[in-house]
């Protein structure tokens, strides 16, 4: 698989009155061309900060990318100047946000907003750009695009606005589309429409997608690879089938067990306790205080992200130990 993006040991911190908050704490992953990677996690897990770091939109100060590399087509984005980033942002890496209401400018027409991106990045005239805007609106299945071009955002419904956002994001045919909770503000029937659209556009345009979400259902529907985050760290990384069939990290297992499901009726098993305070993270494993399988070593030593089986990475002492025991079991039965 050809790589388009590689994030290596990324650390992003925020300085606050409470102390330094390590929002992203050593995140590494690879994104293949045209792949759809899901980043799941609960609020405060660092999934949004990871994506904002990639596109270099971390407000600085108080935030800062402290260390790490973000390699996009052979270039390190972390060391790029703001000027250089502006050429990449919206052009080669585009982003859509959770709330389509606040991410569109209320005093510009939809057409102007789509055309703006095209004019800036592709150097077309306004007339040509507007023509392309019509085409983009057609691609995101907005009926009567010529007429809707002259409408303002408030004349669109939530789902339609998110379609416009997608049209803007894809108008320069980016290599990567980062979607930060794109359907969270939408109703389920509209969510289904948008997810379907994203799947089709991923095929047509070939843009890789990084989908940030808290919903495991959305991940199961759209993604090929999944990265589970907790307290700013990657806890588990694998392809979508493995992670749902054979989740290894106690946190991933906990998430799946605490979800009410339409197709199965059973009592929910919640994860005990509260999410950690990012300013005062536990010394060892960050999930230690809530973990069902915790071992004595988990308290003081941070586990590393290790490949347990091919392509399945987990950060957990318990999983490692289980695996060793299994291997030893095999050996002893053989001898």
């Amino acid at each position: 698989m050809e790589l388009i993006l590689e994030v290596k040991d990324l650390h992003t911190e925020f300085k606050t009155e409470e102390g330094v908050i390590k929002a992203v704490n050593g995140v590494s992953f690879k994104l293949g061309k045209g792949a759809i990677l899901g980043i799941v996690g609960e609020s405060g897990s660092g999934k949004s900060v990871t994506s904002l770091s990639i596109i270099r939109l971390i407000p600085e100060p108080p935030g800062k990318i402290v260390s790490g590399e973000i390699i996009f087509q052979g270039e390190n984005l972390v060391t790029k100047s703001e000027e250089e980033m502006r050429k990449i942002r919206g052009n080669r890496i585009a982003m859509i946000f959770q709330d389509p209401m606040t991410s569109l400018n209320p005093v510009l027409t939809i057409g102007e907003q789509i055309a703006e991106t095209i004019m800036v990045h592709e150097g077309l005239s306004k007339k040509e750009a507007l023509k392309k805007a019509v085409e983009m609106l057609k691609k995101v299945r907005i009926p009567e695009p010529e007429r809707r071009l002259r409408d303002y955002p408030h004349q669109f419904s939530g789902g339609m606005r998110q379609r416009v956002m997608i049209a803007i994001a894809l108008s320069c045919n980016p290599d990567i589309l980062i979607a930060d909770e794109p359907t969270t503000a939408l109703d389920v029937t509209i969510q289904a429409q948008i997810l379907n659209l994203m799947k089709e556009l991923n095929k047509d345009f070939g843009s890789a997608i990084i989908l940030i979400t808290h919903s495991l259902g959305v991940v199961a529907e759209l993604c090929s690879e999944v990265l589970v985050m907790y307290a700013g760290e990657v806890q588990e990384l694998s392809n979508v089938f493995t992670i749902f069939k054979n989740p290894l990290h106690p946190y991933t297992q906990g998430l799946l067990l605490s979800l009410p499901r339409l197709d199965i009726k059973k009592r929910l098993v919640p994860i005990q306790g509260q999410p950690p305070n990012l300013a005062h993270l536990p010394e060892g494993c960050s999930f230690f205080p809530r973990c069902r399988y915790r071992l004595p070593e988990c308290r003081d030593n941070k586990p590393k992200l290790r490949e347990i089986t091919y392509g399945h990475w987990v950060r957990c002492w318990w999983v490692e130990k289980e695996k060793e025991e299994k291997l030893e079991g095999c050996k002893s039965t053989r001898s």
């Binding site: 609960e42 609020s43 419904s157 789902g159 339609m160 109703d187 389920v188 029937t189 509209i190 969510q191 289904a192 429409q193 997810l195 379907n196 808290h214 919903s215 495991l216 259902g217 959305v218 991940v219 199961a220 529907e221 979508v240 089938f241 749902f244 069939k245 906990g254 998430l255 799946l256 067990l257 605490s258 979800l259 009410p260 499901r261 339409l262 197709d263 009726k265 009592r267 929910l268 098993v269 919640p270 994860i271 005990q272 509260q274 999410p275």
Partner: protein, 328 residues
């Protein structure tokens, strides 16, 4: 479960008038937020009310508990028409019906401690006055919802979202109510915390024989907790059935689409599943479509759908549907 109806809602309507102008304002139309809704809840039962945003589910809850005046219709609680109650009688009724709100950040007074918040209902209803009793009761209530009693003097901002929602639950339970209207109690919470609150609500129901009207947009949560489910669309109930029946054999095209739109956290199922993707958006409740409100988005519509409004009819046992296709 007894077969006694604790709550009976009959032809409930709530119209909001839409005004134009500031000084010489005039009415230019209505929004029919709740339009002729009828259902009943048995004692100890959980009725789920689902629908997308703007379908009137929250308004229904608020009208029932008289936080909003109804336009017309009747609501019977324990056989008594609550819209006729006034003063003292209304006060008494309020002890038996409580509400839990969606947003655990906005629904707690930031200037009161957790202890003060949970005993506030008892003070309002003059059931408690002495200080020692207050502290005792507050501790008991906090413990009941799984909070540590030493939190009694903490302020809401010191709690996490899940803990705040527990305070909201404790406040609702303070008066020993029979009916609790839970308006999206878990939708602002993370999944791992959501499960804690759902389990808490289920445990409390068993312990105190509570009756719930559980309002939510997330059908998987509603199906998990409810005995029966009512599906609303644009102010009307389109289907009402036992929750397993509704999931196994949804009859209204809207319910079918709604169910198929919910992502299941299992990629293998998701690949095999056939999806009904609705086109278009929910129409404006200001000028709803003619006939069946769902017909512009329905993939099975026939001629009569745009002409005549379908009525909610019992199609199978305990399974009510409002759709022309089923009553042909």
């Amino acid at each position: 479960m007894k077969a006694v109806n604790l709550l009976e809602v009959k032809n409930l309507k709530k119209y909001f008038t839409v005004k134009k102008g500031i000084i010489f304002s005039r009415d230019i139309g209505y929004i029919k937020a709740v339009d002729n809704v009828s259902f009943s809840i048995r004692e100890g039962e959980t009725l789920g009310l689902v629908g997308e945003s703007g379908c009137g589910k929250t308004t229904t809850g608020r009208v029932i508990i008289r936080l909003l005046p109804a336009t017309s219709g009747e609501v019977y609680f324990d056989g008594e028409n609550i819209f006729n109650l006034k003063g003292n009688e209304l006060q008494k009724l309020r002890r038996k019906m409580q509400i839990i709100f969606q947003d655990p950040y906005a629904s707690l007074n930031p200037r009161m401690t957790a202890g003060e918040i949970v005993v506030e209902p008892l003070i309002v209803h003059k059931l408690i006055s002495n200080k020692k009793e207050k502290i005792e009761k507050a501790r008991e209530l906090l413990e009941m919802v799984g909070l540590n009693p030493y939190h009694i003097n903490c302020y809401p901002h010191e709690f996490s979202g899940g803990q705040r929602q527990r305070i909201g639950v404790a406040r609702a339970l303070a008066l020993n109510p029979k009916l609790i209207i839970a308006d999206e109690p878990v939708s602002a919470l993370d999944v791992s915390i959501q499960a804690q609150i759902i389990n808490l609500l289920q445990d409390l129901q068993e312990k105190f024989n509570l009756t719930y009207l559980f309002i939510a947009h997330d059908l998987s949560v509603v199906k998990h907790i409810s005995n029966r489910i009512a599906v609303m669309y644009l102010g009307k109930i389109v289907e009402l059935a036992l929750s397993d029946d509704l999931y196994r054999s949804p009859m209204h095209p809207y319910t079918q689409a709604l169910l198929s739109a919910i992502p299941i956290p299992d990629p293998e199922i998701m690949q095999k599943r056939e999806k009904v993707i609705l086109t278009g958006d929910v129409p404006s409740p200001m000028n709803p479509p003619s006939g069946c409100y769902f017909h512009p988005r329905c993939n099975k519509k026939i001629k009569i759908c745009s002409e005549e409004e379908p009525l909610l009819k019992e199609i199978a046992k305990d399974h009510l549907v409002a759709c022309h296709l089923l009553s042909l």
